[in-house]
Symmetry: C3
Subunit: 303 residues, 3 copies
């Protein structure tokens, strides 16, 4: 019986050692890319991570970032990062510069999440909203999938997923990854900040709520509160492309879609508490030929 | 040695306590929505759940329900729910009424699975086929992601995923979620039931097998058996939209696609054992301009 | 105290027994199909596997193989299989012959991975590159989801996912699955092998890097090395469909996209170290109307 106990405890020790790595580093990796999911690229990244540690938990943010669209990658990261637990490791690969001298980095946010990415602007909005505490430049001579040295075009698999897995599984520390880079040296994409302009609010249209055609601005609740709106108050809305009006209209400020009849426009705070315009059960962006990006801006004011 | 055993057992106890939550509630959450996967919405839902319990197992049913199409959400849930183990928690968010007074609920099916969803008809087919034992109205004052009170448009993240995760991780009981709602008060979408009409069988076309263009009816095996068909027997098929014939033809009743030559039509029992019509290696729905939904019906009979 | 230890050890034994299955067979299942993810088919497969063992780790290769395109399924498997750990079980269901007498099989690769699939050519490229050690024909009388005998059209759910889960969870051994089939009897799809032709290299275009429009050949690094190219050396490229030139041009051989200006063509070794042609930040295939498959070939030589 004693012998059986001993055996049991030996097995237990192995079990505890076996799971220790996964627990320490949180073990959660979240992937984003512009790869789509029609081919094997995303699966190869996942396989590399599971090869590092079978107990990692792998999730997707999205792989449908439009090809090469670093700005949209930056936005999706900003949109979701705070909903994941501390210590979660994000991999973001929108990487038109793969194989050039753009830096492969890992950034640590002020609230303790990690982003593994090429340094190409992907961190712009996360840095502005949540803050970056420290950055390491990945030493790809040391930290790279074994046998991948001849491959120059798929760092998502050979470097980023591999390093993220090691970090999440606690098999390498942040500090061991490579030299430090001052966070203020990260590449930053310029964009229009939201502001009050007399009695109006102005801001950018960083992104669309693509599935429904809702138009999201970056005018946040703090600014909106300055208009002291009551539910149902109407606002004049102008949407501009390169400074030229594309849409002019009026819409009530309400809580949600069902507060206006089907087919009617509404202004509301979206799920990030930023001012947005939509049509209840309709496609505002499609109907009014509105899109998003650096060229697009929005202006709202009382009539 | 004794001291080492004690330590080992202390560690064991922690391990057992640590995993207890996950085991008790099954720990499996399956998501469905009309969000698509191009943006961060699905990822935010997943992050909230992993924040509740890192050991949850998260899966997707689909996020490609056409926008606002509650009926199709109801069908996909009906199509797949029985293939998941008892105690699995489903989240279904096709929610055009988000932010209005439609009820956020959790339903418990007769065979012990859970569905977290707005009460808007999503449960129609699961209720009819599998039965609902009990329903709770989620008390969103108590059960809601901390800090999300100002957000009115994303209950998928702030309420449904959060509550599903707590339930699956055994951190809240079904009964604690809120007041009871009698299952017969759930919103129910009206649809044509399958029936025998003289020597013919008639039914609805609830959905297409979209990837291939196969047309699925709701005429089940029990009804089909009444025709006492032998493999290869030919049937006259009429497909109608709003009562007007869109397709008339004849097809043999066989086991599977390869039982007819490429390009030829066939009748067969689909993976839910319901009568369907397809073209071997072809797109029946596309070729014959057939679609699905409340307007569409089908009639089959011996020639 | 002794009593508590005994209890602890009893619990431990249960724990060890409980997890034993998952550990032994690696517990990782990777799915590929042409089902898309708009309906419930993939979810039903996942549910069946989790019903076999809740601790399995399920991943996707892709479900966007074009309908019935066995060749592309073969390629995606070849492209990714080596990045997953030994003992991983793959399920590949591109199965136009479902319900006919095509064989349901499990193949074991030389390096110890498993593929569960209909025998229809899906294993062509994995067999040629990595080697198949042994094949078993699944005895579907014995190994099939309980209650699924009346369903003839969804072996992905009823047979392949079910068997893969049992194998990955160590609940059935490879040898128990059914009779042995000599690997050389597997169905093999014919394709053009890469070769040297005088001073030129010729090969097939098995697939496109669809997301970006890059064109991948099967001319591997070993062959390319024979041209003794230096970075920047220019090559004449001819792409042919059914032997007729579709594209003629010249491009430099470089490491990666950023080595040429935006909008310019480049030749490079792709992530599988096979010669490819692309446009930096552009869509080579779209612009030049190039596609992939048995009809397409490529020829490169020094000017």
């Amino acid at each position: 019986m004693i012998r059986e106990w001993t055996r049991g405890l030996a097995a237990l020790s192995l079990l505890l050692i076996g799971t220790a790595g996964a627990w320490a580093g949180n073990g959660v990796v979240v992937y984003q890319s512009d790869f789509g999911q029609k081919d094997g690229a995303v699966s190869a990244m996942r396989g590399v991570a599971i090869g590092v540690d079978r107990d990692l938990k792998l999730f997707d943010l999205t792989h449908e970032i439009p090809a090469y669209n670093i700005w949209e990658g930056a936005y999706r990261l900003f949109q979701t990062i705070e909903y994941w637990p501390a210590d979660t490791v994000f991999v973001s690969v929108v990487d038109p510069g793969v194989g050039t001298d753009r830096l492969p980095i890992v950034a640590k946010t002020r609230d303790g999440r990690y982003v593994v990415t090429p340094d190409n602007g992907t961190l712009t909005l996360v840095a502005d909203r949540f803050g970056i505490d420290a950055v390491r430049i990945i030493d790809t001579k040391k930290h790279r999938l074994a046998g991948s040295a001849d491959s120059a075009t798929f760092h998502g698999r050979d470097v980023f997923s591999y390093v993220a897995a090691k970090l999440a599984a606690n098999k390498v520390s942040f500090e061991e990854l490579g030299e430090s880079l001052p966070p203020e040296k990260l590449i930053h994409i310029d964009y229009k900040k939201p502001a009050q302009d007399g009695k109006a609010l102005v801001g950018a249209i960083p992104v669309l709520d693509v599935q429904y055609g809702n138009v999201w601005s970056n005018i946040d609740k703090t600014l909106v509160d300055k208009l002291a709106l009551k539910k149902g108050d109407k606002l004049k809305v102008t949407i501009l492309k390169a400074g030229k009006p594309v849409y002019k209209g009026t819409a009530p400020f309400v809580d949600s879609f069902g507060d206006v009849p089907e087919g009617k426009p509404l202004l509301y705070l979206n799920s990030l508490l930023e001012l947005s315009i939509a049509i209840n059960m309709g496609d505002f962006a499609g109907k009014n030929k509105v899109s998003s990006g650096p060229d697009w801006s929005i202006r709202v004011e009382r009539p």
